[in-house]
Every structure is written in C-alpha cells, then in structure tokens.
C-alpha cells in the first residue's frame, strides 16, 4: 500500500464526513458505512470480489468475520478491550449497506476508535474463527425456524423478488454458508474496503476537529478506491394472485403479508404512494387498522408499508389473525386493497395524513443518532442530501391528482403475492373457497425449506 493511496483515502473519508454534534450526554459514536451490502453477492462485482462464482451470504460472512481477529488482537482480546472501555462495536450487514460502528463514553472514545480501525482495515481472518462463524450462521438458521415473523418476511421476499438480489437472504442458506471460505472473505475485503466505497459519520459529544483528528490518526491506512455499488436489477413482473402457504405445525395464528412490487425511491410516484400507503395502513387510525382491529378484533396488528432502498422494493399489508379467522381476514384485506386501488383515498384522508406526516417528522430526526442514520442512508441510496429537510414541505405539496396518478400506475390488486405462515391443513380449504382467490395459484411449502 503506497503512502499516496493512504493519504488520499483519509481525505476522502474526511471530505464526506457526516457529523451530528450533541453534548447532552457523554456518549460518542463513529460509523463507517459501505455503499454496498449483500446485494453485492449477486452482482458482477460480487462475483469478482469472491474470486469465483457469486456466493450468497459472502458479504455478511466476510464483514462479521472482521471483528473475530484484527490488528494484533484475537477475538477474545477485542471483546475484553471493548468491555473494559464499556464500548460497543457492531457490524451489521443489510441488503443495501454494511455498517461498522463503535460507541462509548467520551472518555474512552479514542481507544474504542482505534479498535474499530483495526477491525475495518486490518482483519486477520483467522481460520478457526471462520469455521466458528459458519457454525454460528447455521445455528441462526435453526433459530429462524422458531420465528414466524422472520419466516414470513424471508419467504415473501424470496417469492416476490425471485432470483434478483433482494430475493436472496442477507445471511444466505445452509448450502451457501457451507460453501463460503476465507479466500472469498479476503477478496471481498480487498475489493470493498476502500475509501470511496465508505461513508464516515459521527454523532454525540464530539466536534468536527476531534473527529477529523481521530480519522487521521486511526484511518491513515485506508486505501483509496472507487465506489463499488452497482444498479440493482428489478425482478420480472408476475401476473395473477399467488398464495404461498408456509406450512408450520401447531399454529394457532396465521402471519400474513399481502403485497406487490413498488416504485423505486427515486421515482416521482414514490412520495405520493407513500402518503397514500400511510393513509391506508400506516397509523393506528388508518382504515386497515380500523377495519381489521378496531371494528372486528381480527388481529392485534394491521399495517401497510411502502419500502425504499437502493433498488425497487415492495408495498405490503401485514395482519396476523387466528387460524380460524384467516380466510375471513384475507378476504377483508383483499377487499380493502381493491377498494383503495380503485377509489383512492376517502374524503379527508389526504389532509389528515399530510398533517400527520409533516408534524411527526420531528421524531424521525429527534436525536443526533437518528439524523446521522438518515443522512447516511440518503447517501447510500444516492438520494438528494436535503431530502429529509425538505420532507415536510414535499409532503405538504402532494396533491390528490399526484396520488391518483401514482396509485393508477403502481397498484395492482389483481397481481398480489399472499404469503401466509400457518398450519396448512387448518387454513388451506377455507382460503381456496374465497371468491377472490378462485383463480389464484396456490403453493404450500414446508416452513424449514429455506
């Protein structure tokens, strides 16, 4: 690694630094965020980085392994040193990004950042820890079998996004986990840990000068290099209604997602559709909650959400009725969805929800940590940097016509994916009798077939 590369790498981090200063509590946080996440496992860059065919779970595996030995410290020494400082160091891999973060009391922050720098820049990738991590990941898959909500989202994504990156779980599958190796991790690290592919951020009781000094001292060896993010391909459109039942024994309740593909965050339709979705199912008084929970008591929760990210995400409604009331609830949600798509918002709903979104925005940016997270996410997704500041004004300017156009363009009540974690024998016969599912394609899969 040349001196020139090192110097330019640090400058890149400092030039792009996001700082949210707040001295109310003696806590400091430093983050380094990669502009790619597990979606890189499926792209050409991911393939190149792994030194062979793309391997599902590689990004998660390689990044988590970084803290299992770094610099001159073993994993145990890293853990003990961090504990001695009362510091927390976390590495989280999502589809869109990887977050490296250290947090501690101000008095210990310099030493905590020193460890973070070792972890990010100088992982030793020990072989025994690699095997241990592989076993941990397999155990996590075992635990997933006990998590009905986790199962629901995993199967829903697989069915909706198919072979495209968001259809592949961040942590991979049992087979892909067994196929991961240290060579792939080393190659992944060389490819992705470069300054242009990272966003530095800090929050808490620390000044700009102090953060810059920390970065210069501890990250002087960060290599220069370009961004590694690539365009995430959208999945092919599917027509018709599909019902995927994830069959799990002894369920008294059904976990249900009903959804479809949504516009990209950058698409002009996204904001109007977001406003409409919150009106449909984003608050306690939204019509979905009102009809499902308040009027009928069918489910503890009933919500709708429009996703966003670096690529095209989903729009879905989520309910969890009892097994006996599953068909009744699915029929109701389908009817509400159809009505929403065909007739749009009801009188008064737009004014109400615009008001709610504008005023509640204060909570989205309440703490320095909140603001740091949002600003980083905007950069990762290549969104305008003033996006959050202009959010209330942009929401206020959304019109009925904007919403009608967005809903007409995007809502497809005839082409919905209905994913249900339930005991199939208990719910399938009644679901097959529903008029709205007469022509639907039904599939039943075992809950542990992931």
């Amino acid at each position: 690694m040349s001196t020139t590369q090192t110097a330019s790498g640090v400058s890149t981090l400092i030039d792009g630094l996001i700082l949210e200063e707040n001295h109310d509590l003696p806590l400091c946080r430093l983050q380094l965020t990669l502009r790619v996440g597990s979606t890189s496992d499926q792209t050409e860059a991911g393939t190149a980085a792994s030194g062979g065919p793309a391997k599902m779970g590689l990004c998660n595996f390689a990044s988590e392994l970084q803290r299992r030995g770094a610099g001159v410290r073993t994993r145990a020494q890293i853990d003990e040193t961090l504990d001695g400082l009362g510091a927390g160091l976390s590495i989280v891999c999502w589809h869109d990004q990887v977050l490296y973060e250290v947090m501690s009391l101000r008095e210990h922050f310099d030493r905590a950042v020193e460890i973070l720098a070792d972890v990010v820049l100088r992982p030793t990738y020990p072989g025994d820890e690699s095997e241990r991590l592989r076993r941990e990941l397999l155990a996590n898959l075992d635990d997933l079998r006990d998590d009905d909500s986790g199962l629901l989202h995993r199967f829903f994504s697989r069915a909706l996004y198919g072979e495209t990156p968001y259809g592949r779980p961040v942590s991979g599958t049992e087979d892909s986990t067994l196929a991961l190796d240290l060579d792939g991790a080393h190659a992944w690290h060389r490819h992705h840990i470069v300054a242009g592919n990272m966003i530095a951020g800090a929050a808490g009781s620390i000044s700009q000068t102090e953060v810059e000094s920390l970065l210069r001292r501890h990250f002087s060896q960060v290599p220069a290099g370009p961004r590694r993010d690539e365009v995430i391909p959208s999945p092919p459109k599917r027509t018709g209604r599909r019902v995927l039942i994830v069959d799990k024994p002894e369920r008294t309740q059904s976990q249900i997602l009903i959804g479809q593909l949504a516009p990209h965050w950058k698409d002009p339709s996204w904001l109007p559709l977001h406003v409409s979705t919150v009106a449909f199912g984003g608050t306690f008084t939204a019509r979905l909650m009102d009809e499902v929970r308040v009027k009928r008591g069918l489910s503890y929760g009933a919500s709708a959400r429009l996703g966003n990210g670096r690529g095209q995400r989903s729009l879905y409604a989520n309910v969890f009725p009892s097994a006996e009331q599953t068909a009744e609830t699915v029929e109701l949600v389908l009817r509400l969805y159809e009505e929403w798509a065909e007739k749009g918002l009801r009188p008064g709903e737009l004014d109400f929800i615009r008001n709610y979104l504008q005023k509640s925005h204060a909570f989205t940016v309440q703490t320095a940590d909140d603001r740091l997270g949002l600003r980083t996410r905007l950069q990762v997704c290549d969104m305008p940097l003033d996006h959050e500041k202009t959010y209330p004004a942009r929401v206020a300017s959304v019109t009925e016509a904007d919403i009608a156009q967005a809903m007409k363009t995007w809502l497809t009540p005839d082409d919905l994916l209905i994913t249900i974690v339930a005991t199939a024998d208990a719910v399938l016969p009644s679901l097959q009798k529903l008029p709205g599912l007469r022509d639907a394609e039904f599939e039943v899969v075992p809950y542990d077939s992931f």
Binding site: R135, R251, T252, Y300, Q366, T367
Partner: protein, 446 residues
Amino acid sequence: MTDVTLVSEQPFGEGGLVSRLYQLKNGLKVLLLRDPSAPVFAYQTWFSVGSRHEREGKTGIAHLFEHLMFNETQNLPHGEFDRRFELAGGNTNAATWVDWTYYQDDLPASELALAVSLESERMQNLLLRERQVETERGVVISERQMRVDDDVDGFMSEELFRLAFTTHPYHWPTIGWMQDIRNLSLDDCERFYRTYYAPNNATVVVAGDIDESQTLALIVKHYGGIGAQTIPVTEVIVEPVQTEQRVVRFRKPVLTDKILMGYKSPAQHDPDHLRMELLGEILIGSASSPIYRDLVIEKEIFSSLGGSVTPFRDPGLWEISASLHRGHGADEGLALFDQHIAHFVAHGPTAEQLDRARARMLTSFYLSLKTAHGKASSLGESQTTLGDYRELWRVPQILRSITVADLHAVAQRYLRPELRTVVIAEPSGEASDEDEAEGDDDGAEA
C-alpha cells in the same frame, strides 16, 4: 400556584437539566423535566396498578383494560382519541406489566395542551360498552396467540413464572390466562376503572421541550377537579421460600433444545438488585463474560445465551435463556452452566471482570436516556416501582461503589440450586400434536 406543591427536585445528569416532582391536592403526582434538545416532548401517565393487583379467575383485566382506554369518552366519540393525536403528528401507546400500567404520548412541542386535555379526559370520563369489550377481547386473544401460544419463548416465559411463583401474583401472566380473557365482563372492566384509575394512584411525567410553568398550569386546570378515590392497599403477599429446584419439560416444534431458567432474585428497591444485575452482566452479559465465552464461543454448546433481572417491586427472578446447538442437549448445557455458577459462588468475580461489566452498564444507562421518551420512561418507572424518581440517578453512583466482595456475597445468597426454576423445550418432531409436559413442580432435579 396554590393548588400544587413542589415536593422535590434533582439535577438530571450533569448537563444542567433538572427534574421536579409536584403534587396536586387530589394526590396526582406530576414529574417534569425540561429538555429543549429536540422540539418534541413525551407525556406519560403511570398508574400504580398491574397484573399483581388481579386475582385468580380475573387475570388479564389490567391489560385488557389498557386496551379499552383508547376508546370512547364522554367528550370524545369512538376513535377520536387516536385521531387527534395523529392529526397533531403524535404517537400514543401503552404498556401493562406486573406492578404498573403506563400510557405514553410522544408529540411535537406545540401540542402540550392536546396531551393534557385528552389524558385528563380519559382518566375521568371513559365510557365502557359491551361491544368495545368484545372487540378488544378479540384483539387481546390475537396478541396472546402471537406472544405466547405460537411463540415458544413466550410460552416458556409464562411457564417459568407459573412454576416459580406458587403464591404471589407474579404466578400468572400479565396478558392473562386464555380462559380468563374469554370470561372477563363489562362489569369487571367498570369496577377496575373505578377502583384504580384515580389521580391519587397516578404520576404524570412530562419530559422534553416544555415550559415548566405553563405545563403545570395546564395540568392543574385539567386534572385539578378530578376527585381522589380510595385505592385498595396493595396486599403484601410473600412468596414462600423455595426449597427445591423446580424443573419442567415440554415437547415443542423446535429444532434444538431451549432452556429458560430463573433464580429467585431481590426486589428492585433492595440494594442487592443492582448487584444482581451486575453479577448477571459479568457472567453472561457480553462476549467476554466467562459463561458466554466458554459455552457460546469456545465450546459452542449454546447458540445463544442471555439474561436479565426482573425490575419488580417484589422479589422476582434472574432469568437466563439459552438455545442449544444441534448435537447438544439441555441437560448437558445445564450441567456445564452449573459448573461455572459453582466456581463463581466459590471464588467471586475478579476485579477486571467487575470493571468491564460496570463500564458496560454505565454506557447502557446513559444510552437509555437519549430521547425524551427514554427520560420520561426512566423517571416514571423509578417513581412508580421504587416510590422515588430520584433513585434513577443513584444507579451510576451505586454502580461505581460496588465491590468484588459485594458481588461474591450476592452470588452466595442467590445462586443456589434450590432457588432455581428451569423450563426446557425439546423438539417434538413432525408428529407432535400437542404440548406434553413431562416434568412437574415437585422438585425434580435437572
């Protein structure tokens, strides 16, 4: 202001904030903390009533009633309470546990009058109707199915307390037994409201970007006319000393064994409580903790291990949960766990172990106070469970004063096999149709 008395005040941390406790003539306690760091505030109402105030056959009433508090009042049609909060950009929610029930509103700074008006309205003017009870009963049943019946961890937690407490109301779950939830009546709900939802059984906590005088004036105006009630004295129920370990096993649709155990632990006001928390943090709280390091990282017996000490008014449990790796059984895991406990009881912690755990707990303490909501929750819980919000800021002081000898003594007092209850879930296999309890509560040793 003659209708209200300043009871006490205390600096909130070292950043210049001050928390103050006032009391109205009707007994309502008001705890205020001005923190202008963000243009929002948290408004919380803590009632000193939870599932411990229920009785057999009526379990779940405190929680069901919490749901009903979001319904119609004399001056607000059905649905209007939530609608007004959302229109103001706020969020409202509630929680019930063994010792308390609290209602929380997070709102932009401009909406203080709304919060005071609506919360005082439902404290005194709630309307209860048969139809709403029936609807909320269905919602609560759905919640119970999600949290307990279809969730093996929730199921095991319920069984742990059922088995560990034979006499004390901590025996039953806050959400209630399913049979009781189905049988609760409108009359039960009305009686519960009249009995416990009174100003002299509540503390209003407001933290955030507020004007203290204006807040106090609004609260006096809206709550001052609500009459105090005679609150039943909370019965002192002493759980008999446990003399034998209790173990029960269930067959559940899990792939590997799971363990949930609980050692009888001190009440939150007991000086030993924080020591017990620190002890738990030392043993299993992080990757460098001896039991975690040995059984999760080195030997890979457990795939996960965690624990916490119940923050209850009366003695509760140090709960420890563990999932086993494939190829390892609950009995093997328990035996290895017990070896560590025996060593710790014999030798106590090292100074380094204590320092590391202390540092982690101090960081966690400050982290919990980041938001207005976090500040209000911490103050409200201290006031309600410990009887004095000022106890909150004793936590860092006490943490810094705890010694190795303190923890060694606590380990010897509480980490005794006869004080432990163990719930084990084992794989049922494909053919299992129902839960099958294989143990009992008569002292079978693991």
